[in-house]
């Protein structure tokens, strides 16, 4: 088992590395840049931003003169020593290295002075990648673009992820304590009214999704009955509805999975054997059927945990919860590269760890599963 865990952790590192690498390049391949906005920034301002965040650097002129020709355009890929500006004395200013031109800061007829910025070149992606990986190794994900560099990714996630995790834990507790017993009862009495009632509710739960259930619960319990707070995460009463919303949906999944598992198990010969032994029905269910019946739920638990612990965008938005899940959406939509990398590592790390825990849990539930 120890060797198995070590091996899995090593492969987890590899998996996360692959995910991070893919995300890194995919993010940058997505159309539009991080600083594109409805009001387009002046090339100077944009160049300042790119340089500040280490994704570009400036080309400086080495002498004075008046620009007669700009030889490249924004977006051009220049090679090392390629002339980019012609001055009135016939000489040129060339690029010190190759790269994609981010912006040109001067135009024809402008006067340039020595050491003045004349253009900005994007830092090659591979170089950005290597620099980024080096800092990721020390868990330094840099600063978020959305805070204009005033918040680190680490701080942003550290302030919000615990809230999402708290919500996720409550939701998971509701899901497990409601879903699994319901599924067990339904599975033990298939085609009974208990089964039909609970499975209809579960089916409704699965199809409803948070987007309907959330506002419904708010309307009934917060607006009309006034039992709970409408939104936020400040008081215990505010936490109940969001936890229920997320928990009920997952409870529905667990109930269905457990019912299916129970139906499978209860038909097994070894359950008949257990009856033949003269065991009380409760012992048969608890000791012989339960472990087999919850196996499908356990399989689902890994991704479900990773999913709930990182919060639910829908639930967090509906209930106004300051959790981390919003960043999965906004980070990507805003092309906030550092933030995206942060949440990608958070989610993939959680997913890998949860699946590992589930695999270990499996070994306890089913001795036929052997790890070595």
């Amino acid at each position: 088992m120890g060797r198995f865990v070590v091996r899995r952790l090593l492969s987890a590192v590899l998996v996360i590395w692959v995910i991070v690498t893919l995300s890194f390049f995919l993010m940058r391949a997505a159309p539009g840049g991080p600083f594109d906005a409805d009001r387009r920034l002046h090339p100077t301002v944009e160049a300042n931003l790119w340089v500040t965040y280490g994704m570009a650097d400036m080309i400086r002129s080495h002498k004075a003169g008046r620009v007669t020709d700009v030889l490249i355009q924004k977006g051009d890929t220049v090679s090392s020593h390629q002339p980019i500006l012609r001055l009135d004395d016939g000489t040129t200013i060339s690029s010190p290295r190759s790269g994609e031109c981010l912006s040109i800061l001067v135009t024809t007829q402008d006067l340039v002075k020595p050491d003045q910025n004349v253009a900005a070149l994007k830092t090659p992606l591979v170089q950005q990648y290597l620099t980024a990986m080096a800092s990721y190794l020390s868990l330094d994900f840099g600063v978020t673009f959305s805070s204009e560099g005033q918040r680190t990714v680490f701080e942003t996630i550290a302030q919000t992820a615990p809230i999402s995790m708290e919500l996720g834990i409550y939701a998971m507790l509701i899901a497990l304590f409601l879903g699994i017993p319901t599924g067990l009862v339904a599975g033990l009495r298939p085609n009974s009214w208990v089964d039909y009632t609970s499975m209809s509710m579960a089916m409704t739960g699965v199809s409803l999704s948070e987007i309907v259930l959330g506002p419904m619960l708010i309307l009934v319990f917060a607006v009309h009955l006034g039992w709970f707070e409408l939104s936020g995460w400040a008081t215990p009463s505010a936490k109940i509805l969001p936890a229920l919303t997320l928990g009920l949906i997952y409870a529905a999944y667990f109930a269905r999975l457990t019912r299916g598992g129970m139906l499978d198990v209860i038909r097994q010969d070894y359950i008949r054997t257990a009856r033949a032994k003269g065991l009380p029905e409760s012992t048969i269910v608890v000791r012989h059927a339960l472990r087999g019946a919850i196996l499908p739920s356990v399989t689902f638990l890994g991704p479900a945990l990773a999913g709930t612990l990182t919060g639910s965008v829908v639930v967090e938005r509906i209930y106004n919860i300051p959790g981390v899940s919003e960043f999965f959406v906004s980070g990507a939509l805003n092309r906030d590269y550092p933030l995206v990398m942060g949440v990608v590592v958070l989610y993939s790390g959680l997913l890998v760890v949860m699946n590992l825990l589930v695999d270990i849990g499996y070994a306890f539930l089913d001795p036929r599963v052997k790890y070595d």
């Binding site: 097994q268 010969d269 054997t273 257990a274 033949a276 003269g278």
Partner: protein, 342 residues
């Protein structure tokens, strides 16, 4: 062979088990029914082995399970030492299960894969208060040795054993509660021939040493014949012939028994197969819609029109310890094998 006492250990009267067939998901309707047991009468005497034979689907396994009340009958009665089992409460029944045990056909599926062999065997011990925490281990060891396994096997899981070994575990488990009566539900049909023989020998030894009574269920006569005191033959939920094992096998009286026997006796498997096909024309009729009168008439070479009208009852054959349910028994010549081979 032990002599038969006159008071049966188990007495079965007019036992019927109907399985309804339902359709629909939310609003189910019963669209038909299967009569797995259709008026079965049997006695099982203390110390004997009653072989119960028939093709798959004839209701023999159901019969075994209803005797142990693992399934409840639709009507009829099963008494054990004069106790009407259907009238017992759940807890009374659990107490009786100490004395009535079963070994299943599939040694793979019938053992909980998530428990060690020790747990499987000791669970009934603790349930019935037959062992304390301290002597549990000792008792498990004794049982394992009794069935030819090693004490260290107690800490292993079922999937680590071969089929024969698993069946031994199943037997040990059944023996744990010191039963009086054991239903052996096709215990060897999933096993290789050599392994099956070992299990048969084990069962025989156990019967001799512990004075057990067996209901030995099998689908072929050969297996049953070695072990049984008496044999009952079932067809479509009915018992068609009962008698001493030697007599039934050497001189079958019911056409169906004859057909079964003819299939078994030939040692050349290819011949046996063709012969059987000749003997038993057509398929077993659907148990949902059994033939009227004698249910075997559709495949019986001796059948006449009257066979379709009345259902033949088990009749005692004079001068023999034998009962047969056939109205044409006089027409069926015990020696005319040729007729069967037409």
């Amino acid at each position: 062979m032990t002599a038969l006492s006159h008071d049966p250990l188990i007495k079965i009267r007019d036992l019927t088990k109907v399985f309804p067939i339902r359709r629909g998901v939310l609003f189910t309707t019963t669209v038909g029914s299967v009569r797995a047991l259709d008026g079965v009468d049997l006695e099982i005497y203390s110390g004997e082995t009653l072989g119960l034979v028939g093709e798959s689907g004839c209701g023999k396994s159901t019969c075994g399970r209803v005797i142990l009340q693992l399934q409840k009958q639709t009507s009829g009665s099963v008494t054990y030492r004069g106790i009407e089992l259907i009238q017992q409460s759940r807890s009374q029944l659990r107490q009786l299960r100490r004395e009535l045990q079963i070994i299943f056909q599939d040694p793979y599926a019938s053992l909980n894969p998530r428990m060690t062999v020790g747990q499987i065997i000791s669970e009934p011990l603790t349930t019935h208060g037959l062992a304390t925490r301290w002597d549990k281990r000792q008792k498990v060891t004794t049982l394992l040795e009794r069935v030819g396994l090693l004490p260290r096997h107690a800490d292993r899981y079922p999937h680590e054993f071969s089929g024969g070994q698993r069946q031994r575990i199943g037997i040990a488990r059944a023996l744990a509660v010191q039963p009086k009566f054991l239903v052996c539900d096709e215990p060897i049909s999933a096993l290789d021939v050599s392994i099956a023989a070992q299990i048969i020998n084990l069962l025989r030894e156990l019967q001799r040493d512990l004075g057990l009574t067996y209901l030995f269920i099998a689908h072929d006569l050969a297996a049953v014949r070695q072990l049984s005191t008496r044999i009952a033959v079932m067809y479509l939920g009915r018992v068609v012939e009962v008698g001493l094992a030697d007599e039934v096998c050497s001189r079958p009286r019911h056409p169906y028994t004859r057909a079964l026997l003819a299939a078994v006796l030939d040692l050349d498997p290819t011949v046996a197969r063709t012969k059987k096909h000749v003997l038993l024309q057509g398929d077993v009729p659907s148990p949902m819609n059994p033939p009227s009168g004698c249910s075997f008439r559709t495949r019986c070479p001796w059948a006449v029109a009257s066979c379709a009208i009345t259902r033949p009852k088990l009749q005692h054959i004079p001068n023999e310890n034998r009962w047969v349910a056939c109205d044409r028994i006089d027409a069926v010549d015990p020696s005319s094998e040729s007729r069967l081979l037409m």
